[in-house]
């Protein structure tokens, strides 16, 4: 069982890279602890900015830093970052095209029983709807590392959502296929394609293995790049498999599944089933309990595939 959370990987990558690049700045909104950024804050005080509990200011200041050549990473709970500071993300970052990386931590339903105020089940919709804003939901720690290293090389806005806790590895150390803005083929298959993002890629992978035992060949695509979404991979899947099932820790409207359906409908019509959180506050529970309840875990995915195929 992996015990390293994706946020820890981000801290480690930024700590390492910031030693070489003095323009890297991490900003937190009283969130350095929950962001796993404590060691960064301690070791890079000159490259760390605390803004207090003020998410609008967090993003506005980040944009100002970026406009002067800095490479800011604004790290704050995804729930607040994707809604409270949504207009700053739209105007100061996306529209002004500033090199700000918005890191939404404890995303989705990570905060579990803390309730809807702390859930970010609409962040793909809110951030993805903005022109010039990229949206990434990496699956495991290895992909998170590859993603952060990759976006450090560009100068464009991005929103990256990660969960709170460690998740099972999808990839292996030293064997992490990664190409920016291309879905990663986790497993090939010919009957059904399961397209997942974020923490649920692990469940999609486990479901595919179980389906294999039932004689169903499932392809699994890790669509960490929700925007720009990998259109080619989706069309290919639509043409080569009979069914697409999407799985995401997000509400049903404006999420990754919606985008997949939009692309298949216009280019290669195929049955698309979206497994999502409901259009309602979710039931109380831990992430895994919530995923199981709404059929987003491996068991739920297997059930949907066998019913729909």
């Amino acid at each position: 069982m992996n015990k390293i959370a994706n946020k820890q990987v981000i801290n480690d990558v930024l700590l390492e890279e910031s030693a070489k690049d003095k323009d890297i700045i991490v900003l937190c909104s009283d969130s350095r602890g929950s962001a796993g950024m404590k060691s960064y804050a301690e070791q890079r005080p000159e490259q760390f900015v605390e803004v207090g509990i003020a998410e609008q200011n967090l993003v506005g200041i980040s944009a100002g830093l970026a406009a002067c050549g800095k490479k800011p990473f604004a790290v704050s709970p995804a729930s607040f970052l994707s809604t409270r500071s949504m207009e700053q993300a739209k105007v100061d970052v996306a529209y002004s095209n500033t090199n700000v990386k918005l890191i939404g931590i404890s995303g989705g339903v990570s905060y579990g029983a803390l309730g809807m105020t702390h859930h970010s089940a609409t962040d793909i919709a809110t951030m993805g709807s903005m022109p010039n804003m990229r949206v990434y939901l990496p699956s495991d720690r290895f992909q998170t590392e590859a993603l952060i290293k990759s976006v450090l090389k560009d100068e464009k806005p991005a929103y990256i959502r990660i969960g709170r806790n460690a998740v099972e590895d999808v990839y292996e150390d030293g064997n992490v296929p990664f190409e920016l803005d291309k879905a990663t083929l986790v497993k090939d298959g010919t009957d059904v394609t399961i397209i997942a993002c974020g923490e649920l890629v692990g469940d999609a992978k486990a479901a595919a293995e179980e389906l294999s035992g039932k004689g169903i060949s499932a392809r699994v695509l890790d669509m960490y790049c929700v925007k720009p979404i990998d259109k080619d991979a989706i069309i290919k899947a639509a043409k080569e498999t009979k069914l697409i099932v999407t799985v995401e820790e997000h509400t049903m409207y404006g999420g990754m599944g919606s985008m997949v359906a939009q692309i298949t409908a216009a280019n290669a019509p195929v049955k698309v089933v979206n497994l999502t959180l409901p259009d309602a506050p979710v039931v109380t529970g831990k992430s895994r309990e919530i995923f199981k309840y709404y059929g987003l875990d491996a068991e739920g995915i297997v059930k949907t595939v066998t019913e729909q195929l």
């Binding site: 506005g60 944009a63 002067c68």
Partner: protein, 272 residues
């Protein structure tokens, strides 16, 4: 350079631009003109041909709707072709839209939604401190805009980080689209509010060029904290029938009004 004369010429450009385009926020343009003229013709280190100079001073127009005043100043200072501005402003496919657009040379940041500019300016000032550069950052805000809560986050942070390279202006013209600021949402204690948050506060007659320039000089000498200049201005300043009328927030002059406005400005120019 005679800055008063320049400010009258810029006002004529603003009237011309709004009249020919058929749109614009004339009242706020005319109240903020003197501040922009002092900054762009005297105080700020900005060169139209060196907008990638990391040591240039930074300017953010938080009250983005006063964009006609900014565009007229930038065009006159040679940041872009004045004719192109006048021919295309707000027209189909133009980059000269009705709020600052950073695709235009000289515009640092897109603004328009109120309550954004000061946070951005705080970030710019922080970057200057981090890089040990001596550029200064200026943000111009509207008084109606001071009702935006996000401003107070930025004001708190500006003082917390002791950003003495940052100067904010509040264009205190006492009018907003629905009426007086005091009717719409109390703003009359700006000086006390900013002072309570830890800023150096200077209150001046905001359409007086000498007072503006002296205040900017004082801000440059003030160490350890940012400065706000509460510029007590007249909305529509310079044109008698536009002055102090909320209705002229974004009204467009008729041909007779346009002629009258230019005549008044010419008369004032002749008296200098």
């Amino acid at each position: 350079m005679n800055l008063e004369a320049k400010a009258l010429d810029i006002r004529k450009d603003i009237i011309e631009l709004i009249y020919s385009a058929g749109c614009g926020h004339i009242g706020g343009d005319l109240s903020v003109t003197d501040i922009l003229v002092d900054l762009y013709y005297k105080q700020m280190n900005v060169d139209p041909n060196k907008m990638d100079d990391p040591n240039r001073d930074r300017f953010v127009l938080s009250k983005g709707h006063s964009v006609e005043a900014l565009y007229c100043v930038l065009a006159d200072r040679g940041f872009f072709d004045k004719k192109e501005l006048f021919d295309t402003y707000s027209k189909h496919l133009s980059k000269y839209i009705g709020h600052p657009n950073n695709k235009i040379n000289g515009v640092e940041m897109n603004t328009g939604s109120l309550g954004h500019g000061l946070s951005v300016a705080v970030g710019m000032a922080m970057a200057g401190k981090m890089d040990k550069r001596d550029y200064r950052v200026y943000a111009v805000m509207g008084d109606g805009e001071m009702a935006e809560g996000s401003n107070w986050e930025a004001i708190t942070a500006g003082a917390h980080y002791g950003l003495d390279n940052l100067t904010a202006f509040v264009d205190r013209n006492r009018l907003q689209i629905s009426g007086t600021t005091e009717e719409v949402m109390t703003a009359d204690d700006q000086e006390e509010r900013w002072a309570a948050f830890g800023w150096n506060v200077i209150s001046i007659p905001g359409n007086n060029m000498e007072a503006i320039d002296n205040a900017v000089e004082e801000a440059k000498k003030t160490k350890g904290k940012p400065t706000v200049i509460i510029a007590n201005t007249t909305k529509g300043c310079g044109v008698s029938f536009i002055e102090n009328k909320a209705a002229w927030h974004h009204k467009v002059p008729t041909e007779a009004e346009y002629q009258q406005a230019l005549k008044e400005l010419d008369e004032r120019r002749a008296q200098l």
